[in-house]
C-alpha cells in the first residue's frame, strides 16, 4: 500500500466540504422535518456520503467525463448501463452528482421491487433517496423537478454474466414513455469499469428462487467465501455523460415507435461505453 493512503482516506472521511455540498442540494421538496414523501433525508446522508466518497475517490478512483453536460436544475432523467452484481454503479453515479457537479444535485435512483421488502436495506435506501421504480413514483418525482436515474436493463443488466460484459441487454420502454409524457430531457450515461468489478460465471436460478432474489450470481470466489464473492474488485471507474436528448413523441404510442426512440438512447449509451473503453489504459489503472 502506498504510504500516505491512510491519511488520504481519513482526509476524505472527515472532509467538511462534503456536508457543505449536501447542504447546497435543493430542499424544495422536503417538509419541515427534513424528509420527503419517500423518506429521503439529506441530513441522514451526511453520515453516509463520506463513506461512499472514500470508495469514490480512493477505491474505484472514479474519473468523470463531460460533467458539464448534466443539467443543474429542472427535471432530468439519467439513463445508464447497469452491471456489477451489486448496485455500486448507482452509488458512484449518485456520488459524482454530489461531489463533482456544481451546484450539487441529489440523484434519485429507481430500485427493484425486491428492495423495499428487505429489512435494513429498505430503510437505508429510502433515506438515501432511492425510490421503488414504479411509473407513478417516477412521474411524481419528475413533476417535482428531481433528477432521476434509471437502468432500463434492470435485473438482467446488473446480474449479467462475465461473457456479456459491455453488451447492453434489452432495454425496458417505461422510461421513454415517462420522458415523453413529462417532457424530460434524457442524459445518456456510460459507466465503464463496473462491468468488470465482479466475475459472474453463471446465474444459479434455483438458488435465486430459494432466497427470493432476482438473481444468484456465482463467482470464482463463491465456493470459498459465499456471498462475499460478490464484493467488487478495485477497478477504475470511468463515468461518461452524453449530451441531453430532448425527444418528442406520443407517450402512448405503440411499442414499435417507442422502441425506435429507445434505440436512439441505447445507441448513445453504446457509443459512450466505446469511448470510455478506448480512453482507459486498463481495468485497474
Amino acid at each position: 500500500m502506498t504510504p500516505g493512503i491512510i491519511e488520504k482516506i481519513l482526509e476524505t472521511a472527515r472532509d467538511p466540504d462534503i456536508a457543505e455540498r449536501i447542504d447546497r442540494v435543493s430542499r424544495a421538496n422536503l417538509n419541515a422535518y427534513g424528509f420527503d414523501a419517500f423518506g429521503y433525508s439529506p441530513d441522514y446522508m451526511k453520515s453516509i456520503v463520506p463513506v461512499v466518497a472514500v470508495f469514490y475517490r480512493h477505491y474505484f478512483r472514479v474519473t468523470v467525463h463531460h460533467m458539464e453536460r448534466v443539467p443543474t436544475s429542472g427535471r432530468t432523467l439519467l439513463i445508464a448501463n447497469h452491471s456489477g452484481q451489486l448496485p455500486v454503479d448507482g452509488a458512484m453515479l449518485g456520488a459524482s452528482m454530489l461531489l463533482d457537479l456544481d451546484p450539487p444535485r441529489m440523484l434519485r435512483a429507481m430500485v427493484e421491487r425486491w428492495v423495499p421488502t428487505l429489512p435494513v436495506v429498505s430503510t437505508f435506501m429510502a433515506r438515501c433517496g432511492q425510490v421503488l421504480g414504479t411509473p407513478e413514483n417516477c412521474r411524481a418525482l419528475l413533476e417535482d423537478e428531481e433528477c432521476i436515474l434509471a437502468f432500463p436493463e434492470g435485473a438482467a443488466g446488473i446480474s449479467k454474466t462475465w461473457d456479456k460484459r459491455y453488451q447492453l441487454q434489452p432495454f425496458g420502454y417505461g422510461f421513454m414513455r415517462l420522458a415523453l409524457e413529462t417532457g424530460t430531457p434524457i442524459v445518456p450515461v456510460a459507466v465503464v469499469g463496473a462491468e468488470e468489478q465482479a466475475i459472474n460465471l453463471f446465474d444459479w436460478k434455483a438458488a435465486a428462487r430459494l432466497v427470493g432474489a432476482p438473481a444468484f450470481p456465482v463467482t470464482p470466489f463463491t465456493p470459498f467465501v459465499g456471498p462475499l464473492g460478490l464484493l467488487p474488485m478495485p477497478v477504475h471507474y470511468h463515468i461518461l455523460f452524453g449530451e441531453p436528448m430532448q425527444l418528442v413523441g406520443d407517450a402512448d404510442d405503440e411499442d414499435g415507435r417507442i422502441g425506435r426512440l429507445v434505440r436512439k438512447v441505447k445507441h448513445a449509451i453504446g457509443s459512450l461505453v466505446d469511448e470510455g473503453l478506448a480512453l482507459r489504459k486498463g481495468v485497474f489503472r
Binding site: 417538509n31 422535518y33 424528509f35 428487505l118 429489512p119 429498505s122 407513478e136
Partner: protein, 310 residues
Amino acid sequence: MTLRAHASGTVLITGISGRFGRLLTRHLHRSHPVVGIDRRPFPEAPRDVVLHRADIRSRRAEDVFRTTPIETVIHLNVMHNPREMGTDSHRFNLVGTRHILDLCVRYGVHKLIVLSTANLYGASPDTMRYLAEDAPLLEGARSSLGRDLVELDMLCSSFFWQHPEVETVILRPVHLIGSVQNAPSNYLRLPKVPLLMGFDPIVQVIHEDDVVQALRLTLTPGAKGVFNVGGPPAVPLSTLLALFGKTTVKVPHVIFEPLARRMWRSGLWSFPPDQLDHLKFACMVDDARIRKELGYSPTRSLEDIASLLR
C-alpha cells in the same frame, strides 16, 4: 365552484357517544342543532343536544328521521376498535351503514358525511406514494379488519354515484391519533412501543381536532366526494416515536409476527397483528384535493399530537 356559507340545518350524528363523536359534538353544537343516535350513553352531553339511545339498525333509528327534519347526517357509528372486531362488528358496520344510507334517501337528507380512513389504501412494499382518492383500497387483502372497512367505504362510494341528490362526503384521514380506540392510537399508547428491526417507514398522523376541522369544512354546501385528509409533515416512525418521547423495543419481524398473533389472541397486547404491515411499509396519501377545494390546512403539529398521548 362557488360555495355558500355554512349550512345551519340539523345535524344528526350516529355514534355520538363514541370518543370522536363526543369531541365532534362539543365543536358543533353551538353552530348547529345536533341530534345523536347511539346505543351507549353520553352522560356529559351538552344540554342542547337531543340524544336517542337506539341501535342504528333498529326501527327506533328510523323514528328519529321521521320526527326530526334532518339536513345532514354525520355517520360515525362504525366499530373501529380492533379488539371488538368480529362477525358482530361486521354485521353492525355493514347492516347499520346500509340502513342509514336508506334512511338518508327516504327522508330527503341533504348531505351525508362518512368517516372512513386512509389506512384502507394498504401498506405494502410496492404501494405508490402520493396516493390520491382514486387509488385502489388494498388493505382488505391481508386483514379482516381492513376488509370490513374497505367494504363499508365502497358501499358509501357507490351510494355517492347512485344517489346524486344526497351530497355524499367520504373522509379518509391518515392515522387518527387521540383519545379514540383505534389501532394507531393503541399502538402509540403502549408502554414500550415495538419497532420491527430494519424497517422504519415514513408515517402520517393527524390530530383528532384536525379531523373535526376537515369535517366542518365538508359541511359547506356543494362539497362532495372522497377526500383524503393529512396532518402535520410525515416523518419516519422512529423519528415520530422519538418526538413523542416513547421507549421503543426493536424486534426482528420473523420472531415478532407469530409472537404478536399469540399475544393478541391471549389479550396481552392491544395492537392487531394484521396491522403490522403498517410498521414495515409506508402508505403515504396526498390530500391536495381537500386543501385546494375546501381550503383545509392542518393546525395541529406533531408536538400537539404528542401531548395528547401523555
